[in-house]
């Protein structure tokens, strides 16, 4: 008689496999067969065993198989959990579903065969990665060990699998031809099946001692039978987890968006502000000017519309007026200089100040704020908002010296560390003849208009051509519009490729800014009336370039000319090298190579991305790196795993559709001379209503679904009012994880029954 024992997890199809093997052997010869499972806890993932006896004569044993000739391991992970090799006959063989070499298994004297059954099954679309249905492949492999007729094997599989007969048969054939191990026939297995001779006799050894009936460690109901008070049911364990939401993941500043929105939803505005402020000292600014990557990736977009995180942020930022600032005492000996008072420089300064360093920020312009001050028009960002946020930073203890155009060399003797964050304030050139005489630089125009009211001679009714498609171009156009001009943007690609924030573009169009797409300047000249003739050429989009956007290609013979009063170019910006003492340097985030003993760091627009929020993130990071250096610690940027909660993880059925609160805007009939902020944000009542639209992706918000659904009442509120699982009563059914709206319960094969 041949005896085979299999080890698998419930759901891998082993019981069916052994039934099919029994049928296969009965078709292969005049065999008596007996296949049966030893069900422990018959649930998906639970370790199970199955048995197969094949004999030439009547099988006189209906008990489990303790001394098999062959052991088949369907799931390699059981090797560490279950004594799978127990009782294997001395000359016995094992077949393991594994990708490892045979030498990885330490079984002296035993014959080992391996089969990559999981891979073969997945290649044939059988089961899922977490629970591949490997039974057909294992049938194929076991069939191979006994040199079974492939036609009989396939026919038996096709006729007996519950679904996918062809895929199962194919997997079996592939497996049949993929077993690694000693050449066949295996004499021992062959003899057990075909020439068994006398059966081995039982191993019972009689002892004179009677069995001690008294003193048995007998269970009783008052004493649990297992480590779990309700029995060894659980194989898969649910756990509350904190998974990363897309809003947090996509915030360049690193803000815990989900948390501040949640706190706002609980009307804990001060706490929400603190949470926000931990990563972002410019919430009032960002609430107004950030493109809100958080909102763009909000999972709610797949349900109705994203949460209006920008409006919540703005509201919280504006609340800062109400919160006092406690100055941070200087506790560290090192002095730090920051060149540039933009979002990166001030953020880095604040963080280091909070850590106890004395920090001085040097600003070349008369007012602090960098691009927030000089590049963003007032109607998008009122001065008062920026003033308030900078003031808080100063109140914390950061010294800001304006009109101080300094270089690293000037500072290195007085400071332990210098951070350069000078931004990108120099406009790029068109490279056209007459450019310097006949065109203005957009970023310079914005700066001069904002800081000194220089209108660059723009008069009511002027026609202004703005070249470019970024935020500077849009801001220049909207400013020109307010100066009474007709503003036309010329952009060489299409709306889809415009780097400007989409909402800003929409607002600009609504205000009357015109945009001509797929056209680029080809020449500039002054005509006899003193007007500017701007030659344009149409473009078409070709293959994507290195930026990933489709490259514009001039269309021959499509030249045209427009007559304008001014041409303002806004086609990109670069950083000013003044801080580097004339050295040619390629700035990058963090510490840079610099001659001299003083460590020099780079941050902000010059080193990273082009938005305020990216600059803030850059400032946070550079502060950590500086701190680590000064403390003699190794700096490791936080590693962010891409495991984020996606729309597919959300149980949208448990949420109510609620329209997004969009906030109020003023719509004056005439914008001429009007530099007021037009967007008024959300009122406090709407802030609350908008905040509670949050889905709480990957974060338990105590909705109580798990509590309501748990069939074993194993979920309770702990002393802190949080939902918790009592594992003494949890049977691992997984309903809680299934019904969790926001993917805050994971359910993984991490525990097995004894």
């Amino acid at each position: 008689m041949l005896e085979i024992r299999g080890h698998a997890r419930g759901g891998q199809g082993m019981v069916t496999a052994f039934e099919i093997l029994a049928k296969m052997f009965s078709h292969l010869g005049d065999f008596q067969v007996q296949a049966f499972p030893a069900f422990g806890v018959e649930r998906t993932g639970a370790p199970i065993q199955a048995f197969l006896r094949v004999a030439k004569k009547e099988i006189l044993n209906r008990s489990n198989i303790y001394h098999p000739h062959l052991i088949a391991i369907f799931d390699e992970s059981l090797l560490d959990m279950v004594p799978v090799f127990d009782g294997l006959k001395d000359q016995g063989a094992v077949l393991i579903n594994t990708e490892k070499p045979r030498s990885a298994f330490d079984l002296p004297g035993k014959t080992i065969y391996t089969i990559p059954a999981t891979r073969i099954s997945l290649e044939n679309g059988l089961g899922s990665k977490s629970l591949p249905i490997v039974n057909a492949a294992m049938i194929g492999a076991i069939g191979y060990l006994f040199e079974a007729d492939l036609d009989v094997l396939q026919e038996t599989i096709r006729g007996n699998v519950p679904s996918k007969p062809q895929a199962n048969a194919k997997a079996a054939v592939t497996a049949y031809n993929s077993v690694l191990g000693e050449a066949l026939p295996n004499p021992y297995l062959h003899d057990r099946l075909h020439n068994p001779g006398d059966e081995e006799t039982g191993a019972y050894q009689y002892s004179e001692q009677t069995e001690p009936i008294i003193g048995i460690d007998a269970p009783f109901w008052a004493m649990p039978l297992s480590k779990n008070k309700t029995g060894n049911w659980r194989v898969v364990t649910p756990r509350y987890v904190d998974r990363r939401p897309p809003c947090n993941h996509n915030c360049p500043a690193g803000t815990d968006v989900r948390r501040f929105v949640k706190l706002a939803g609980e009307k804990k505005f001060a706490e929400a502000f603190e949470t926000l402020y931990e990563h972002n000292p410019f919430p009032g600014v960002c609430g107004r000017v950030c493109p809100h990557f958080c909102e763009q990736q909000c999972n709610r977009n797949d349900f109705d519309e994203s949460v209006n995180i920008g409006a919540i942020e703005r509201f919280l930022g504006d609340q800062a007026l109400n919160y006092p600032v406690l100055p941070s005492p200087v506790t560290q000996p090192e002095k730090i200089a920051v060149i540039g008072s933009g979002p990166a420089g001030l953020t880095a300064a604040l963080r280091l100040c909070e850590k106890g360093y004395e920090v001085t920020v040097f600003e070349a312009l008369p007012q602090a704020g960098g691009m927030m001050r000089s590049g963003i028009p007032k109607f998008r960002l009122p001065d008062a908002v920026l003033d308030l946020e900078i003031k808080r930073i100063e109140q914390k203890g950061v010294k800001i010296e304006t009109k101080r155009r300094v270089s690293i060399g000037e500072l290195s003797s007085r400071f332990s560390t210098v951070i350069t964050a000078v931004g990108s304030h120099i406009g790029a050139r068109l490279l056209l003849d007459g450019e310097d005489e006949l065109s203005l630089d957009g970023i310079t125009f914005l700066r001069e208009f904002k800081l000194s009211g220089n209108e660059a001679g723009i008069a009511k009714g002027d026609r202004i051509a703005i070249i470019g498609g970024g935020n500077t171009a849009v801001d220049v156009a909207r400013t020109a519009l307010r100066l009474g001009a007709e503003a036309v943007i010329y952009y060489r690609r299409t709306m889809a490729e415009m780097p400007a924030i989409a909402q800003e573009v929409e607002e600009a169009l609504a205000e009357g800014v015109q945009i001509r797409f797929l056209t680029a300047p080809a020449g500039l000249k002054k005509n006899s009336q003193g007007q500017i003739e701007l030659s344009l050429i149409d473009m078409e989009l070709g293959e994507p370039d290195s930026s990933g956007r489709r490259k514009p290609i001039p269309v021959e013979g499509s030249e045209s000319t427009v007559i304008v009063q001014k041409v303002i170019k806004a086609i990109g910006q670069r950083f000013d090298e003044y801080a580097f003492d004339g050295m040619a340097l390629k700035p990058r985030q963090g510490r840079i190579e610099y001659a001299g003993e003083t460590p020099v760091f780079c941050a902000g627009d010059m080193a990273w991305g082009g938005t305020v929020t990216e600059a803030i993130g850059s400032g946070n990071k550079v502060a950590e790196e500086v701190h680590a250096l000064l403390q003699g610690l190794q700096y490791h940027p936080e590693e962010i795993l891409p495991d984020i909660v996606l729309p597919k993880d959300i149980n949208f059925a448990y949420y109510m559709p609620i329209p997004k609160h969009r906030g109020v805007s003023k719509h004056p009939k005439d914008l001429h001379g009007n530099f007021e902020e037009l967007s008024l944000g959300l009122r406090e009542t709407d802030i609350h209503a908008e905040s509670i639209r949050c889905l709480h992706c990957g974060d338990c918000y105590n909705c109580g679904n798990c509590f309501n659904f748990c069939p074993d009442a194993a979920i309770h509120l702990d002393e802190d009012g949080r939902l918790r699982i009592d594992y003494d009563y949890c049977k691992g059914c997984g309903i809680c994880a299934e019904e969790c709206p926001c993917n805050a319960i994971e359910f993984t094969l991490t525990e097995i029954a004894s």
Partner: protein
């Protein structure tokens, strides 16, 4: 075992599927069903066969076993050949209706896949059916899928001849879920053996309306019991007769009890039911002086058959029943019945509790019982619990 039979086809079937095949072959017309592990695949398979038109029966999903057995009773009154299956708790829940079916004299056949009640457990155990031994039902215990299939077919004939219901019991998992070689007889052969059900004395006759289940006054009550008793005491002989007829037609021989290696040489007889019997058959080949008595018909307990089987057993021999049941008494059900059957006989009898709640009974355990019984037995012994 017969291996050649032109009127059969060979299959590899689980015990539960063999049971469903038997119900189909008996052309049952009504199946009220309620699922319970480890029986469920019997009624699932029947549901499958009915829905595919492989059998012409009315299949009704009931709301409980109590309802299922009540529906079975009603359909049997209406003259249908009825089948259902249950296990453990389900059988306990139907207990009250079991009495009614038996004492209404309705020839229903059911399969019970043995499992215990509390402590909650789904594995092999005979406490559920043995606790129903006094409800008036005939009980057979099958050793293999083949035997269960054959016994269900024989049971309809027996039930319909005597108007007493029959319960065919198989072991959880060791039979219910074990795939093994089964000869499935052709329909023609079964039809020849088991004629269509004729209306019985209790069948509803639309031409002759009458009431069922009314109050039975004392002057009639005893008479009803007497007539039941008069038919019940025929079961042993009638079952043997039917099994003999079956053996002639189907080529497989069964008896109420089976004696293996019981003769003048025997010093010890193990008494078993169901799947443990098979393992014991293998073990006693090592022990020429150990015999085996398999009880197939358990209720009414076949006293004469047992006495006949032990006719040549020496008077100083030992008898050792192996109990896969616990009924809250000192001795298990097999011991009690054997004592009753052998009252006044000289044998020493020691009881062995082994294998309750699905505890595996491998050959080593049988050998242990043999050694304890021969060397140092207690009156009652619990094996494999230390």
């Amino acid at each position: 075992m017969k291996t050649e039979a032109p009127t059969h086809s060979q299959s590899i079937l689980k015990g539960n599927f063999a049971t469903a095949e038997a119900a189909r072959l008996c052309r049952v017309g009504f199946i009220p069903a309620y699922p319970i592990t480890p029986q469920t695949t019997i009624v699932e398979r029947l549901s499958d066969m009915v829905s595919k038109g492989e059998m012409d029966a009315t299949y009704v999903n009931m709301d409980s076993e109590h309802s299922a057995f009540a529906a079975a009773m009603g359909a049997a009154l209406a003259g249908e050949r009825v089948f259902t299956a249950t296990a453990g708790q389900g059988l306990f829940y139907a207990h009250e209706v079991l009495h009614a079916i038996a004492h209404f004299r309705l020839p229903i056949v059911i399969a019970n896949v043995g499992r215990p009640s509390i402590p909650w457990n789904i594995w092999s155990d005979q406490s559920d059916s043995l606790a129903q031994r006094d409800t008036g039902w005939i009980q057979f215990y099958g050793e293999s899928s083949q035997e269960v299939l054959d016994t269900v077919i024989q049971s309809y004939l027996l039930a319909e001849q005597l108007n007493i219901p029959v319960m065919v019991v198989l072991d959880a998992f060791y039979q219910s879920h074990t795939s093994e070689n089964v000869w499935v007889p052709d329909q023609d052969l079964v039809d020849e053996f088991l004629p269509p059900k004729k209306p019985g004395p209790m069948s509803i006759d639309m031409e002759n309306p009458k009431a069922f289940g009314g109050l039975v006054p004392p002057e009639h009550y005893n008479k009803l019991n007497y007539t039941f008793w008069r038919d019940a005491i025929q079961v042993e002989e009638r079952a043997e007769q039917i099994a003999a007829d079956y053996a002639r037609m189907f080529g497989r021989e069964y008896h109420n009890v089976e004696a293996i290696n019981i003769g003048p040489q025997t010093r010890l007889v193990l008494v078993t039911v169901s799947s443990i019997t098979t393992t014991a058959r293998g073990v006693i080949r090592k022990y020429p002086d150990v015999g085996l008595l398999k009880i197939r018909l358990f209720k009414p307990f076949p006293k004469a058959s047992v006495q006949e089987a032990l006719r040549e057993l020496p008077k100083d021999a030992i008898i050792a029943p192996v109990e896969r049941n616990f009924l809250g008494d000192r001795e298990g059900a097999l011991f009690q019945e054997m004592q009753r059957a052998l009252y006044g006989a000289p044998y020493r009898m020691y009881d062995f509790y082994a294998g309750a709640g699905g505890k595996d009974v491998p050959p080593e355990t049988i050998e242990k019982i043999i050694h304890i019984a021969r060397n140092n037995p207690q009156d009652v012994n619990w094996v494999d619990i230390a």
